[in-house]
Symmetry: C3
Subunit: 270 residues, 3 copies
């Protein structure tokens, strides 16, 4: 037992609940992530659907149990679908998760993110540079990769969580999650994970699956992060490099039980 | 020899013919499927080309030997390309295959599918919920996953095949294929297959490759389904989970000979 | 030591320099390639970003160290982004690499390529049929696959390099690279590589990473091709088929050192 954070439901209980529900999660994500994110969700036990065009994104958000939005390969058509879906999800009381990929990089991206932030995401998950820039501070982001440490982003995460009334997760070597009143660090994972593209994007989708299965978005986010951290740590034991990391990691997600997740998760109060 | 269906050409003969032709198949498919579908086709012995924009989709359909259309991540731009390509394929006498992914989910998708159905697909391949809904009955589809058994969709498949004058395939635990006069069930596959995203979409593309290589779309469809069923069953012997299923399955597709396919295929009259 | 080409910097030195720089490379590539190309670049040591929409593609090209453009799944929206990015890269003195996928196949594609060629790519990488058609000769291309040998395309490559003042690479069984004054052949690779989709597209992106790290685009291109040839040859020793080739190849890219690359690279003057 490595978890020192008091939780109303353990990550393992939330994983079991998520699998029992097999939640339909709508993901409007980037082209790089679509395939691996769908495979991560299927392996973990959720039911992903990639539905993005504005002609149906809002209608579908009312059917789905949760929505995730990722601006990695943004375009006006996708942005229109994101806004329609986020509005519908909020109206229908469905949780939605925002992944602000490299939002600081261009004027177009900054403006798009501002519009999405007004639609009040339930959870925001980003890397350290993204969260620092989102709080209005100067980040060292380099393209889509973080140039900052998670520790340097903790204050920014708390500030955003307080201002927006949402959960904020910063992922990296040690993850950090906060709703401004409670904060936790999640240990685990592997140095190979940033060398496989779109695993962070896939985690955003998995946060949506957990958020669809409980009314507690803080604990849902911590559980999804813990599942990734444990499966990633296990995969690294046998992965020879970034190429084999993906199939091994998917297999570990698929066999990870609630009991094993609780035994191995390391979630500590921050 | 497990095949009890009388066939003018065996699946193995059709596989050998397909590989000899190495047919150029145009696939307008969804973003999740594009990479794995291309890899499935290359492994099996076809030449895939993903060409979708309306400015060239029709011209390309006249060059290609077959066309496949999948509405998984539909948008108005893609729909325009699909219609241009389907019209050109029909005019040029090229077979085309339709994959009506979750067509029942939204009004936009239902309307788009109705337009595509009017362009007279040669083969329709879907899961049970999709085929039941296409016949006008009430399905239990959940997002993009089937909530119904293949057995429950057999009557719907026959009704659509008769009404449209096409081949209809329903894939699942046991596959079903019909042209309304003849029907067959194809056994094999693995429970891991629905846990890997877009394998059904990839199968739709492979049906296109077989349909490009014979004038008999019923037997072409049965052969493609049998190839998937045999390679899937073989892959499941060594796959530790959904992650490793993909590379193993691709390798099995690549080494499967016509002789082995005929020895292992299980196609029974229905 | 198999390299007989006099080079100012060896491939291994250029690989070490590329990894030290970890260049941010903007890739406007096709939907089939996006994931595997990003994984190839991360494994090799570059920082890929897929940013395509015209609203930000030009601004991003000024941030990135190099740009790559691939017309595999072209559409008007993507073409507008490609032109904005190529113009910005040229203005900012950043190298950009063009991959003219099946440009001979349709009128739309031919017209788009003509527009991109006017924006003066630093490097063009294609298969033999693409390069022959680009020089204005009759090629035997079949969809996206080459119907011609690299040897048959060498004269076309030299003619294009002279006319455009750029580097031209033709990849296939034996690769050929030229700036019209110097030409080299690069040996290695594996017959499995054309059976894995989008490896050529991924190589185009990797050329961008090397071109971002030196002022010598001819040697950058030769080094990227040599890295692919060596890692591909090594991967083929243990790959059972096209399915396992991908993870093995990514792992080989990740562990390949500058020293090993220099020891194994076979670059011969042509």
């Amino acid at each position: 037992m490595h978890t020192t954070m008091p939780l109303s439901e353990t990550p393992g209980q939330l994983l079991t609940a998520m699998r029992a529900k097999n939640p339909l999660v709508q993901n409007i994500t980037n082209f790089v992530a679509m395939n691996i994110a769908a495979n991560v969700m299927l392996a973990a036990g959720a039911s992903p659907a990639m539905v993005h065009t504005k002609e149906e994104a809002g209608e579908f958000a009312r059917i789905a149990s949760a929505l995730t939005i990722n601006i990695g390969t943004l375009s006006p058509d996708f942005l229109a679908g994101m806004k329609a879906a986020a509005e519908a999800a909020t109206e229908a009381g469905k949780p939605w998760v925002l992944d602000p990929v490299a939002h600081y990089a261009t004027a177009y991206r900054r403006a798009a993110l501002a519009e999405l932030m007004e639609l009040r995401p339930t959870v925001i998950r980003g890397n350290a540079s993204e969260i620092i820039a989102l709080a209005g501070s100067q980040s060292s982001g380099h393209g889509v990769d973080s140039g900052d440490s998670v520790a340097a982003a903790e204050g920014s995460a708390i500030a955003i969580a307080r201002r927006q009334g949402c959960v904020v997760a910063v992922t990296g070597e040690v993850d950090f999650v906060t709703d401004s009143r409670r904060s936790a660090r999640i240990l685990g994972g592997s140095a190979l994970m940033p060398r496989v593209t779109a695993l962070g994007c896939s985690l955003t989708c998995l946060v949506g699956a957990f958020a669809a299965s409980t009314d507690n978005p803080f604990e849902a986010t911590a559980a999804a992060l813990a599942m990734f951290a444990v499966a990633g740590e296990e995969a690294a034991f046998t992965a020879s490099g970034p190429g084999f990391f993906s199939p091994i990691f998917l297999d570990r997600l698929a066999v990870l039980t609630g009991e094993t997740l609780d035994a191995k998760a390391r979630i500590v109060s921050a």
